[in-house]
Amino acid sequence: MTERRIRVLICKPGLDGHDRGAKVVAASLRDAGMEVVYTGLRQTPEMVVETAIQEDVDAVGLSLHSAAHMTIFPRVLKLLRKRKADHILLTGGGIIPDEDRRELEEMGVGRLFGPGATSEEIVQYITAEVGRRRAAARAGA
């Protein structure tokens, strides 16, 4: 049995329309051999979580440039836990101050990528983290 392809959901929650970054990341993940579900703009946290569950993704990447990150990341994390879907990695990027990033990471959000991040870093991080989580799930099963 070959290893299942990594599936990632890329979303833009909230009201900002800057979807360039999300599209670039989605394309790089596809080029790295992943199956990327892209939903486009204006997703609510509820929609993000419902989509992540239906699509059985390994990771959710949220792109946020609207300064709403301290509301949206914790809300998505909480909903994932509530729906028993917190095996899914929650990561993302955008304009997020270091202080906020640390706080979110302490809550259980995965690594968050800023404007300087390269596609390779993001691909490597998701590949490694999803691999780790899958191994842990197999060991726990």
């Binding site: 049995m1 299942r4 392809r5 989605a26 394309a27 993940l29 596809r30 080029d31 790295a32 051999g33 992943m34 199956e35 990327v36 579900v37 892209y38 939903t39 486009g40 204006r42 609510t44 929609m47 419902e50 989509t51 569950i53 239906q54 699509e55 059985d56 729906r83 028993k84 879907a85 099963a141």
Partner: protein
């Protein structure tokens, strides 16, 4: 439903023998319509895992109720938008809906960008709709089989209507169209000479034609073109169904109620006339055949994987023919017997 009881009996025995508990609880989750279970089950089926095969066998008695609608047409015809609109109308009519949206896998990287949800935001927000984006993973021709397995899961989960949206025009989407009880073919006026292109394939499988973007120039002519081609087509055997040609503007919802009515009429009529059952038998037959082919191919090429390059060398050097090389590979699996002989495949 007597068949269902018999199947349940078999299932009981098998589970007592070896199956781990998670699988049966997964099947229960699917039957209860739990999203996490349905999603997981589709992944298992999609990955061709042994658990997936066992799970589908467990679910088999619960399938067969849903009506499966295939939606296909050239890229940019408006398939996703139309599926979204149809799904919303179905929900308004009290139905539960499942959607399988297939997008192409890159033949170079194996990755895929699955973007059908961008145009399905209306339906996607509703918990009564389960949408699954699926990559075609074209390597073993598994598109139709995986999509059909996913339909079986949604069927077992109690969805009344399952809509399969295919990738754009090609050959595979005729396959998926063959997986549906009712096939809707969407065309649009800006696709150029669309009717010419689809004379051979889609024209024969369509139960309902849609000319979408009917507010654009050339829509009436396209309708007439399709009608002209249909003139030449015989009525369906059995119920004499003639595919209607409907105009829609999916982005505004115009024409969608008439389309849904037409789909429902086809559903009712094909069920009453027996053509529904005939089609389903045909579909099951070709699924079994496809799966046999797929696993044989995997077995032969898996077992002879190392030998393949050596044979390529021989053929390129002119010491062997491609057919001879293929037979030699096949013999590795059949234990030296000629694959054409009666017992060639046993063992």
């Amino acid at each position: 439903m007597a068949r269902g009881t018999a199947a349940t009996g078999r299932k009981g025995r098998r589970e007592a023998a070896s199956a781990p508990p998670p699988r049966s609880s997964l099947a229960e989750g699917v039957r209860a319509g739990d999203s996490l279970s349905v999603a997981r089950a589709i992944s298992l089926a999609e990955d061709r895992s042994p658990e997936g095969a066992a799970l589908l066998a467990d679910l088999a008695p619960s399938t067969g109720r849903a009506h499966r609608i295939g939606v296909t047409g050239p890229p940019g015809a408006g398939k996703s938008t139309l599926v979204n609109g149809l799904a919303r109308l179905m929900l308004d009519g009290g139905r539960t809906v499942g959607i399988i949206a297939v997008d192409p896998t890159s033949p170079f990287t194996g990755g895929a960008l699955l973007g059908d949800r961008v145009r399905m935001q209306g339906a996607a927000g509703d918990p009564r709709v389960f949408i699954r984006s699926m990559a075609s993973r074209g390597d073993l021709g598994g598109l139709a089989a995986a999509a059909q397995d996913a339909c079986d899961v949604l069927d077992a989960a109690g969805k009344d209507r399952i809509v399969m949206e295919t990738v754009g025009v090609g050959q595979t989407e005729v396959e998926v169209a063959g997986a549906a009880d009712t096939v809707v073919v969407i065309l649009h006026p800006e696709a150029g000479d669309g009717v010419q292109a689809m004379k051979a394939g889609l024209m024969e499988v369509a139960d309902v034609f849609v000319v979408n973007k009917a507010d654009r120039e050339g829509a009436d002519r396209l309708v007439q073109d399709v009608l002209d081609v249909l003139e030449l087509r015989r009525a369906a055997p059995g119920d004499g169904w003639r595919p209607p040609v409907l105009k829609t503007v999916a982005s505004t919802g115009e024409g969608l109620p008439a389309l849904l009515a037409s789909v429902e009429e086809h559903a009712a009529r094909s069920r009453a006339s027996g053509s529904f059952d005939r089609r389903r038998r045909g579909r099951v037959r070709s699924r079994i055949r496809d799966l046999v082919e797929e696993s044989l191919r995997a077995r032969v090429l898996g077992a002879g994987g190392d030998a393949l390059e050596g044979l390529v060398d021989e053929v390129v050097a002119g010491r062997e023919s491609p057919r001879g090389a293929a037979l030699r590979l096949l013999r590795r699996v059949t234990g030296g017997r000629e694959p054409g002989s009666d017992h060639g495949w046993r063992r």
